[in-house]
C-alpha cells in the first residue's frame, strides 16, 4: 500500500469516526440534562426501599451541563485532530528527515508541568472537598480514637506521597537524556537498602501498635456490659429495629417463625401456632399440586383455547410458557422443592417443641411485648449495643457519623457498641440544617434497591424524651407487619400468587 492511499484511508477513517461521534452526541442536546442535587433529594421520603428509578426532568442548570458536554466533545475531536496532525509530522520526518518536534524534550517538560499542577490540585482538593470528610467531629465517643488514627496516618502518608511523587517526576526531568552523557553506574548499596527497609519497618511497626490500641479501644468496649441492647434487623431492602418491652428483655427468635405477620420471627406462642397451621396447609397444597400435574396441564390447555378464542395473544403466550414449564418438569421440580422446604421447616419447629426444656426457654413470653420499630431512637451519652441480624442476604450497617460499620450476616449475630455524644438537635444546629438526620445505610451490595436502604437514627437529649418516644410504640403483635417497600411487596405478591394458589 503506498503512502497516498494510506493517507486517504486515514483521512476517511477519521471522518467516519468524527461523524459517528457527532451522531452519538447529537441526541444528548435534544434533552434536558439534569444532575440532581441535594434539594431534590429531600423530595423522597425517609422510609426504606422507596425507590423511583426515573424522575421527570425539570430544567435545572441545563446550560452548564450542555457546555460541559460541548467542551468534552470538542476535546475528543481535538485528540483526534492532534493524532492526525502528528501522524503527518511523522511522515514528514520520514520523508525529509527533519524532526518537527523533539518529543523527548516535550514530554520531560509536560512531566514537570503535570507534577506542579498535580501537587497544586491535590492541595486544592484537600481544601475544597476535604471539608466533607468525616474525620473530625464524630458523633460517637469512639470516633475520636478513630479520627486521631486517621489523621496520624494521613499526615504521614501525605508527606510520603508528595515527596516521592516530586522525586519521581523531578529526577526524569533533571536527568533527561543528553548527547554524550553517560548514566552513573550504581547497581547497589547495601547500607542504603538496609536503611530504607528499616525506617519504613519501624514506622509501620509504630503504626501497627497504635492501630492495634485504637482497634482494641473500639471493639473491646468497656461499657459493653451496661449498654442498652437494641436488635437491628435487615432485609431486602430495609431495616427495622426491636426494643425490649416492659419486661426489659428481648425475647427469642428463629428464622423458622418468620411470616407476613411476624417479620422478625419472634417466638410468640400464639403467632407461631397459627403460622404452623398455615405451613401445614401450604404443605398439603404443594403435595396436591405435585399429584395433579396432569390435571393442571389439562386446565392450562383449556385456558389456552379460551385465550385463543377471544384472540388474547398475550394471555395465550403466557399460558404457552407455563405449559412448557409443566411439560419440561420444571414446574414439578419447583413444587417438590417448595414441599421439601415447608416439610423441613415444620420438622425443625417440631424439634423445638419435642424438647420441653428448650420449648420453655424459647416461648417464655419475653418476645410477646417486644417493640418492632421503623426508626431507631437512642439517648445521648448512653452506651448502646446494636445486635445485628439479617433475614436474607448479607447487608452492612453503616453510619459514618457514628463511625459505625458492621456486616449483618444471616445465620449469625454481630454486634457493635458505641456511645452517641451528639444529639440530632445539636448536629442540626452545628450544620445549620434543620432537616439533617442521622441515618444508617446498607453498605454491602444486596440487590436492586441497595442504594436506598436506610433507617433514621434519632439521638435524643434526655431520658424523658426517650421514654416519651418508647411509650408511643406499641408491642409487635398489635402494630405488626413491616411496611414493605413497593418493590418488595410487589415481588412478594407475584411470588405468593404463583406459589400459594391451589387452582389456576
Amino acid at each position: 500500500m503506498n503512502s497516498t492511499v494510506r493517507k486517504n484511508l486515514v483521512r476517511a477513517l477519521t471522518s467516519v469516526f468524527i461523524l459517528s461521534l457527532i451522531y452519538v452526541a447529537e441526541p444528548l442536546f435534544s434533552y434536558n440534562i439534569l444532575p440532581f442535587n441535594a434539594q431534590h433529594a429531600s423530595w423522597f421520603g425517609v422510609g426504606g426501599g422507596e425507590f423511583t428509578p426515573y424522575q421527570e426532568p425539570t430544567p435545572y442548570d441545563t446550560v452548564r451541563t450542555q457546555v460541559l458536554w460541548m467542551i468534552f466533545i470538542a476535546f475528543v475531536l481535538l485528540i483526534t485532530v492532534i493524532a492526525y496532525v502528528f501522524d503527518i509530522a511523522h511522515f514528514t520526518y520520514k520523508i525529509t528527515g527533519k524532526k518537527v518536534a523533539d518529543v523527548n524534550k516535550v514530554s520531560a517538560w509536560i512531566g514537570l508541568i503535570v507534577l506542579i499542577v498535580g501537587v497544586y490540585y491535590s492541595f486544592w482538593e484537600l481544601a475544597a472537598q476535604g471539608k466533607y470528610a468525616k474525620v473530625t467531629n464524630p458523633s460517637a465517643e469512639h470516633g475520636f480514637v478513630l479520627d486521631n488514627m486517621f489523621m496520624f496516618t494521613f499526615v504521614l502518608t501525605f508527606a510520603v506521597f508528595i515527596i516521592t511523587e516530586i522525586l519521581l517526576f523531578v529526577f526524569p526531568f533533571i536527568y533527561r537524556t543528553k548527547e554524550g552523557r553517560k548514566a552513573y553506574y550504581y547497581p547497589e548499596n547495601n547500607k542504603l537498602e538496609i536503611f530504607w527497609t528499616a525506617v519504613p519497618f519501624l514506622v509501620l511497626l509504630f503504626m501497627v501498635f497504635r492501630g492495634n490500641a485504637a482497634w482494641k479501644d473500639i471493639v473491646y468496649h468497656p461499657e459493653a456490659k451496661q449498654a442498652q441492647e437494641i436488635e437491628v434487623f435487615s432485609y431486602q431492602f430495609g431495616w427495622s429495629a426491636r426494643y425490649p418491652g416492659n419486661d426489659g428483655k428481648l425475647g427469642a427468635y428463629s428464622f423458622n417463625y418468620i411470616s407476613g405477620t411476624n417479620p422478625l420471627g419472634l417466638a410468640v406462642e400464639s403467632e407461631v401456632a397459627s403460622f404452623k397451621e398455615e405451613l401445614k396447609k401450604d404443605t398439603a397444597n404443594f403435595s396436591f399440586k405435585l399429584t395433579h400435574i396432569k390435571q393442571y396441564l389439562g386446565d392450562l390447555n383449556t385456558q389456552l383455547e379460551g385465550y385463543l378464542n377471544v384472540a388474547d395473544f398475550k394471555g395465550a403466550k403466557d399460558t404457552r410458557k407455563e405449559i412448557e414449564r409443566v411439560k419440561s418438569g420444571e414446574y414439578a421440580d419447583e413444587m417438590a422443592l417448595m414441599l421439601r422446604r415447608r416439610t423441613k421447616q415444620l420438622e425443625r419447629m417440631a424439634l423445638v417443641e419435642s424438647d420441653k426444656k428448650q420449648f420453655e426457654k424459647t416461648f417464655n413470653g419475653d418476645a410477646n411485648d417486644d417493640l418492632v420499630v421503623k426508626e431507631i431512637v437512642i439517648q445521648k451519652g448512653k452506651p448502646v449495643r446494636f445486635k445485628f441480624r439479617s433475614r436474607d442476604v448479607i447487608h452492612s450497617a453503616y453510619s459514618p457519623d457514628f463511625r459505625l460499620q458492621m456486616n449483618t450476616v444471616p445465620g449469625m449475630s454481630t454486634y457493635f457498641v458505641f456511645t452517641p455524644i451528639k444529639s440530632t438537635k445539636e448536629a442540626r444546629a452545628e450544620k445549620k440544617d434543620d432537616e439533617f438526620n442521622y441515618y444508617m445505610y446498607c453498605n454491602k451490595v444486596c440487590g436492586q434497591a441497595h442504594f436506598n436502604m436506610k433507617i433514621k437514627i434519632t439521638v435524643v437529649e434526655t431520658e424523658a424524651e426517650y421514654n416519651d418516644w418508647i411509650k408511643q410504640q406499641k408491642p409487635a403483635f398489635v402494630n405488626s407487619s413491616i411496611q414493605s417497600s413497593k418493590v418488595d411487596s410487589k415481588m412478594a405478591k407475584t411470588e405468593s400468587i404463583k406459589i400459594n394458589s391451589p387452582s389456576i
Partner: protein
C-alpha cells in the same frame, strides 16, 4: 543431550515451521510468541468491553435519571427510557470488575508477558509444555466467551459484585442476576482457573528447568523473576478459589449448605439450608482474592523494572533487594486476606493479626519504590512511551499504595470499608498501575512481538491523556470515601448528605470518558503499526536481554543456531570503562573467555558450534515432570 540431537531438533523445527497451515500457525498454535499475542489481543478486546462498561455506569452516576438515547439503543430492556436499570447497573459493575481483574490484568498481563518473555529472556526454545500452553490460552478464550455470553440472558449477567458473596449469589430468587447469569459466571471462572493453572505450571517449570547455559537464577531479568513469583502465588491460591466456586455451585445446584444458613427469602419462605456460613466463602475467596492483586502487580513490577533500567541506561538499583522484596510480598500475600473482612463480625483478635501483617507488607513495596527512584537518579533518561508508562505506573502505585495504610488499619477501616475510598485505592494501586505496566510493556516489546515499531508521538499523547484521566477519575474518589459514600450505589441523590458530590461525579465521569477515549489512540496506533509500522531493528532499545538476540521475524525455536550463552546479569548498563552504554548478556567479556575454557568461540558464529545447551528436550512431558521431581527433591540435579 548430544550435539547432533540439538542440530536435528533445530532443523526439525525449522522444517515444521515451513509447512504450517493457517490453523496451526495462527489459531491452535503451540508457539509461545503466537500464544502471547493471542493473550494480548484477547485481553485488549476484554479491556475494551470492560472499559466501555465503566463509561455506561459512570454516565448513570454523573447524571442519575437522565435519558441517554445511546443507553436505550445499546441495552434495550435494561435501559428503558435511556436510564440504566438498577439491576443492570449492578451487573455492569460486577462484570466490569470481573473482566478487569481476571481477564485483562491476570490473563492479559501475566499471560501475554510470561509467554513472550520467559522463553526469550532465559534462552529457551519454547515453553516446557507447548501443548498445555495452547490449552491454557484456549481455556482463557473460552472463559471470556462464556462471560460475555451471559450478557444475552433474559435475567442478565451476574450482579452481586465481582466478589459474588453468597447468599446473594447463591439464591437465584434473591436478585435477577443470581439466576443463570451467576451460573455462567462461575462456569467462566472455573475455566479461567484451569487456564491460569495450566499457564502457571508451565511458567514455573520453564524458569526452573530450561534456562540456557550461564543463565543462573541470579542473572535472570527481574521480569522473569516476577513472572515466576506470580505463577507460584497463582498456583497456590487459585485452587482455593476453585474450591470456593465449586462449593457455591453445589449450593446453587445440588441443595448443599456450605454457605447458607437460616435464610428467609421474600416470596419463597424459609429455606431448608441450615448450618453453613456465608463468612466461610469470604475467607476462601479472599485467600485467593488478596494474592490475586499481587499476581497482578508482580508482573507489572517486573516489566517496569526492566523498562526503567533500560531507559534510564542504569542498572536497576538493588537487584537482590528487588528479588527479596518480591519474595516477601509473595509470601506475606497469603497472610493478609483478613483485611477485607474487618467488619464481617470476625473475631477482633484476628483483626489485630491481619492488620499487623497488612501494614508490614508495605515495607517491601516501599523498598521497591525507593529502588526505582534511585534507579532514575543520575540516569540518562530516554522518554520512550514505554518509559513514560513505567514512570506513570510507579506514580500510581505510590498514590494508591499510601491509601492502603488507611484501609489496612482495622480501626480506620470501620468507616472506610466498602466506600469509594476503597475503589480509589485499588483502582490506582492495582488497576491503573497494572494497566500502565501493560501499556508500557506493549510499547517496549512491540518490536519483538510484531517486528515493527509503534508510533512514538502517538504513544506520548496516549500516555499523558491516560495519566491525567486516571488521576481525574480516581483521585476524588478518596474524598467521597472519606465522607462516607458507599460503593455500588446506583445513585446518591436519594440520600440528602451525598447531594454535594453530584458535581464531583460529573468531573469524574468526564475524566473517565477522556481516559477511555484516549485508548482510541492506542488501538489506532497498535493496529496501524502491526501492518504499516516502521520495520524494527534487531535491538531497537539497545537492551541487554536475550530476547533482542533473536531474529526480528519470528521463527519456531527462537534462535536459528544454537542457544546463546549468558555471561552476566541483565542490567549492566553504562558500565564504566566501556564505550557502549549497554552490554548484552550473551556478549562474552575478557574474564568470561578465561572462565569457560572449553568454549572458546563466540556462540554467535554458527559454524563452530561448540556451545551446547542441555535444555533441548523434545519430550515435553519429561521436562515437565522432571521439574516437579527436582522441586520435590526426588531427583538430584
Amino acid at each position: 543431550m548430544s550435539h547432533t540431537a540439538h542440530i536435528e531438533s533445530t532443523e526439525h523445527s525449522n522444517h515444521e515451521h515451513g509447512k504450517q497451515s493457517f490453523i496451526s500457525k495462527y489459531i491452535f498454535s503451540m508457539d509461545h510468541k503466537m500464544i502471547s499475542r493471542q493473550y494480548l489481543i484477547t485481553g485488549m478486546i476484554m479491556g475494551c468491553i470492560g472499559g466501555f462498561m465503566s463509561l455506561l455506569f459512570r454516565l448513570q452516576l454523573a447524571w442519575p435519571g437522565h435519558h441517554f438515547t445511546i443507553i436505550e439503543m445499546l441495552l434495550g430492556k435494561w435501559g428503558k427510557g435511556g436510564v440504566i436499570d438498577p439491576n443492570f447497573f449492578l451487573a455492569l459493575v460486577t462484570i466490569h470488575g470481573t473482566i478487569m481483574v481476571f481477564f485483562v490484568l491476570t490473563g492479559g498481563l501475566s499471560g501475554t508477558y510470561s509467554n513472550l518473555l520467559i522463553p526469550l529472556q532465559i534462552g529457551a526454545r519454547d515453553m516446557a509444555s507447548p501443548f498445555m500452553n495452547m490449552l491454557g490460552v484456549w481455556f482463557f478464550i473460552a472463559s471470556a466467551v462464556v462471560l460475555v455470553c451471559s450478557f444475552f440472558l433474559e435475567t442478565g449477567p451476574a450482579s452481586g459484585g465481582w466478589t459474588v458473596y453468597p447468599p446473594l449469589s447463591a439464591l437465584d430468587k434473591a436478585m435477577p442476576g443470581s439466576g443463570t447469569g451467576m451460573t455462567l459466571w462461575l462456569f467462566s471462572i472455573v475455566l479461567f482457573i484451569i487456564s491460569s493453572l495450566l499457564g502457571g505450571i508451565n511458567y514455573i517449570s520453564n524458569v526452573l528447568n530450561m534456562r540456557t547455559k550461564g543463565m543462573s537464577m541470579n542473572r535472570m531479568p527481574l521480569t522473569v523473576w516476577s513472572f515466576f513469583f506470580a505463577a507460584v502465588v497463582g498456583l497456590l491460591s487459585f485452587p482455593v478459589l476453585l474450591g470456593a466456586g465449586l462449593f457455591l455451585i453445589f449450593d446453587r445446584m445440588l441443595g448443599t449448605s456450605f454457605y447458607l444458613s437460616d435464610i428467609y427469602l421474600n416470596g419463597v419462605g424459609a429455606l431448608d439450608n441450615v448450618g453453613g456460613s456465608p463468612i466461610l466463602y469470604q475467607h476462601l475467596f479472599w485467600f485467593l482474592g488478596h494474592p490475586e492483586v499481587y499476581i497482578i502487580i508482580l508482573p507489572a513490577f517486573g516489566i517496569v523494572s526492566e523498562i526503567i533500567s533500560n531507559n534510564a541506561r542504569k542498572p536497576i538499583f538493588g537487584y537482590t533487594a528487588m528479588i527479596i522484596s518480591m519474595f516477601s510480598i509473595s509470601f506475606l500475600s497469603f497472610l493478609v486476606w483478613g483485611h477485607h473482612m474487618f467488619v464481617t463480625g470476625m473475631n477482633p483478635f484476628l483483626g489485630t493479626v491481619f492488620m499487623a501483617i497488612s501494614l508490614i507488607i508495605a515495607v517491601p513495596s516501599s523498598v521497591k519504590t525507593f529502588n526505582y527512584l534511585t534507579t532514575l537518579w543520575k540516569g540518562n533518561i530516554r522518554f520512550t512511551p514505554g518509559m513514560l508508562f513505567s514512570i506513570g505506573m510507579v506514580s500510581l502505585f505510590i498514590s494508591g499504595g499510601v491509601t492502603g495504610m488507611f484501609l489496612g488499619n482495622a480501626a480506620v477501616d470501620i468507616t472506610l470499608h466498602d466506600t469509594y475510598f476503597v475503589i480509589g485505592h485499588f483502582h490506582l494501586v492495582m488497576g491503573a498501575a497494572a494497566i500502565f505496566a501493560m501499556f508500557g510493556g506493549v510499547y517496549h516489546w512491540f518490536p519483538k512481538m510484531f517486528g515493527r515499531m509503534m508510533n512514538n508521538t502517538l504513544g506520548h499523547f496516549h500516555f499523558w491523556l491516560t495519566f491525567i484521566g486516571a488521576y481525574v477519575v480516581f483521585y476524588p474518589m478518596h474524598f467521597l470515601g472519606a465522607a462516607g459514600v458507599p460503593r455500588r450505589y446506583y445513585e446518591f441523590t436519594l440520600i440528602p448528605e451525598f447531594g454535594v458530590w453530584v458535581d464531583v461525579n460529573i468531573v469524574m465521569t468526564l475524566g473517565a470518558i477522556l481516559g477511555v477515549s484516549a485508548q482510541i489512540l492506542f488501538i489506532y496506533n497498535f493496529v496501524k503499526s502491526i501492518y504499516w509500522g516502521e520495520k524494527a531493528t534487531q535491538n531497537p532499545w539497545n537492551a541487554n536481554g536475550l530476547e533482542w538476540t533473536t531474529p526480528v521475524e519470528h521463527i519456531h525455536g527462537n534462535w536459528p543456531g544454537p542457544l546463546p550463552v549468558v555471561y552476566r546479569g541483565a542490567y549492566e548498563y553504562s558500565v564504566p570503562g566501556r564505550e557502549l552504554d549497554y552490554w548484552p548478556q550473551n556478549e562474552p567479556g575478557d574474564d568470561d573467555m578465561v572462565e569457560i575454557k572449553h568454549e572458546p568461540v563466540s556462540p554467535e558464529s554458527p559454524e563452530v558450534d561448540t556451545v551446547e545447551s542441555d535444555n533441548i528436550n523434545t519430550d515435553t512431558s519429561k521436562v515437565f515432570f522432571s521439574s516437579f521431581a527436582r522441586l520435590l527433591g526426588l531427583v538430584k540435579v
